[in-house]
Symmetry: C2
Subunit: 213 residues, 2 copies
């Protein structure tokens, strides 16, 4: 049996937990434009509400893509911001409400823990060996050439050809890991007999690839 | 026979032309740090030299990633800039010299022509129908669901769920087209009997996907 996707590290970033967390929204849609809530909703973490309000620059009661991108001061890539919106804008409104923000905030905090854990040399970016360790611990046994490809693709600068490739900064590390997870799971869904081989039509192939972040 | 990759539109952005154009470098590496050339190299287009010098902010005689990103005032994505560096930094120095810049400039100008041609409503971005027409004219017969996937993936903002998805701006349009081309050609290389089906190992699959921009 092929070993590509055994999740032997119980890492905190499983979509499911967020989805179930967000599947019982506290508020129902009242119709009309949302009104700004002056105080935190009942039972909300006051610290989290403070953060949410800080990001919600126009006081609309929800966070737009632009506000999210402004808030992610490290300069997250548009593709990473889009991936996060896709994961947490569960009602597909194009904005993140407070409920959705709580899930997003936890997700980013959890990933920050993962990033710090694997950034062994505290360089602020993930280099080759650190990337290999991280993906290995998530249960992905990737060949050295694949690891090199990922290292270059998600590096925060083009490689120079001299010396090791530049490292992967936080937002691109998250995207790299989610991409490997998404692609591996899509492959596994087609690989019914789990022999590590699949037969794909052009349409299936393109559809799998273009669905990954 | 499957029709996915017939290039019936002789579009100007074939890698080959640039590579052959750049395969006879005028300068050989002399050792030591490059010295700044005050005037254009013999035979150089003076206008092009002026643009090159404008982008080469630190007067090093070559353009770094940062300078390139600064120059692309429309705010090209890092991934698009990396793709362009990968196509035109032929000596893998991590910088673009004047020779390489000429190829890059032509490539971007040609794509601007393509973009303007397909941006029928002059909105400054490529929408669903325009994207379908562009890819069709390049010879890619993609199913409507695939076109929708591309439209969302390369849109310059997340979709809101209401109304049509936001359009694709210039740099992401170039990346989308190059990605479709790269993926289709990689698929075709494996599809020896051209029946539109391939058998792929997990390693092959990941390697193809991660090699696309």
């Amino acid at each position: 049996m092929h070993r590509y996707g055994q999740q032997n590290y119980n890492h905190p970033n499983q979509y499911q937990s967020h989805q179930s967390h967000n599947s019982t929204p506290q508020y129902s849609y009242q119709g009309g434009p949302p009104t700004y809530q002056r105080g935190p909703p009942p039972g909300a973490d006051p610290q989290l509400w403070q953060w949410f309000s800080a990001v919600d620059l126009d006081r609309s009661g929800s966070i737009s893509v632009t506000e999210l991108q402004t808030a992610l001061v490290n300069g997250f890539d548009l593709d990473t911001v889009k991936m996060l919106m896709g994961l947490f804008d569960l009602d597909r409104s194009g904005t993140i409400n407070f409920q959705e923000f709580a899930g997003l905030w936890k997700y980013i905090s959890d990933w920050q823990g993962v990033f710090r854990h694997f950034d062994r040399d505290r360089s602020g970016s993930i280099e080759g060996r650190e990337l290999a360790e991280a993906l290995q611990s998530f249960g992905y046994s990737l060949s050295p050439p694949l690891l090199t490809l990922i290292e270059h693709k998600y590096a925060s600068e083009p490689s120079t050809g001299y010396g090791p490739p530049p490292g992967i900064t936080f937002d691109r590390f998250v995207r790299a890991c989610v991409a490997v997870k998404t692609l591996t799971e899509a492959f596994q869904r087609v690989d019914n007999d789990r022999d590590g081989w699949v037969q794909l039509s052009y349409d299936q192939f393109m559809s799998i690839v273009l669905s990954a972040p």
